[in-house]
Amino acid sequence: AQSVTQLDSQVPVFEEAPVELRCNYSSSVSVYLFWYVQYPNQGLQLLLKYLSGSTLVKGINGFEAEFNKSQTSFHLRKPSVHISDTAEYFCAVSDREGETSGSRLTFGEGTQLTVNP
C-alpha cells in the first residue's frame, strides 16, 4: 500500500515570490511520482513526473520538483510565481511494481496555492 501526505493545505504567497509545495510519500516498493494542477472548475493537468533518471524534474509553467528517496519526498518548487498559478496542486504516487499491468494513482489531499498581487 502507498500513501501521500501534502504537508500544507493552503499556501498564500505574493506574486513573484518563490514557492515550495511539500509532498511526502510512503510505499513498500519503488514508485513513480507526479504533480498535477487543478484550476477552478477544471479537470487535473499533469505538471511533471518522475519515472527514473535525474532526480530533478522540470515541468510546465516553470515548475520543478526534486525526488529525494532517503526522505521519501517530492517537493514542488517555482522560483517566481504569477497570479495565474493560483490553483490546487496534487501530489500522486503509483506503484512501479505495476509497470506492465498498470497501477492506480494515489493522491494527496491537495494544496491550495493562492498568489496575491
Partner: protein, 113 residues
C-alpha cells in the same frame, strides 16, 4: 478523441434515483480510473480498469456503486438509490499502461437534492 470525455458535465438528481455517468477514454489507453472529489477534499479512488484484467473495485464506497467498461473503451459508473452524500465531482482518467501518466476528463458534477 483528443482527450478524455465525460458526460454529462452536470447532473442534478433527486435522492433515491439512479444515475449513470459516462467516460470516453483516450483511444488506445488500456487503463481507466474513476475518482471522486468532494468539496474541499482530495481525490478519492473508486475503481480501476486495466485491459482485460479484473477491475480493482477496492475504492467503491458501497454496493450502490458499480462500474463497467465495455469493449475495453467506454466506461459507465452507476450509482443506485443516490444519497446526498454522493454529491461530488466524479473524475475519469485514462493512461497507457507503460507510461502510467493519467489524463483526466473535466469531470461530472453530481448534485443529489
Amino acid at each position: 478523441g483528443a482527450g478524455v470525455s465525460q458526460s454529462p458535465s452536470n447532473k442534478v438528481t433527486e435522492k433515491g434515483k439512479d444515475v449513470e455517468l459516462r467516460c470516453d477514454p483516450i483511444s488506445g489507453h488500456t487503463a481507466l480510473y474513476w475518482y471522486r472529489q468532494s468539496l474541499g477534499q482530495g481525490l478519492e479512488f473508486l475503481i480501476y480498469f486495466q485491459g482485460n484484467s479484473a477491475p480493482d473495485k477496492s475504492g467503491l464506497p458501497s454496493d450502490r456503486f458499480s462500474a463497467e467498461r465495455t469493449g475495453g473503451s467506454v466506461s459507465t459508473l452507476t450509482i443506485q438509490r443516490t444519497q446526498q452524500e454522493d454529491s461530488a465531482v466524479y473524475l475519469c482518467a485514462s493512461s497507457l499502461v507503460w507510461t502510467t501518466e493519467a489524463f483526466f476528463g473535466q469531470g461530472t458534477r453530481l448534485t443529489v437534492v
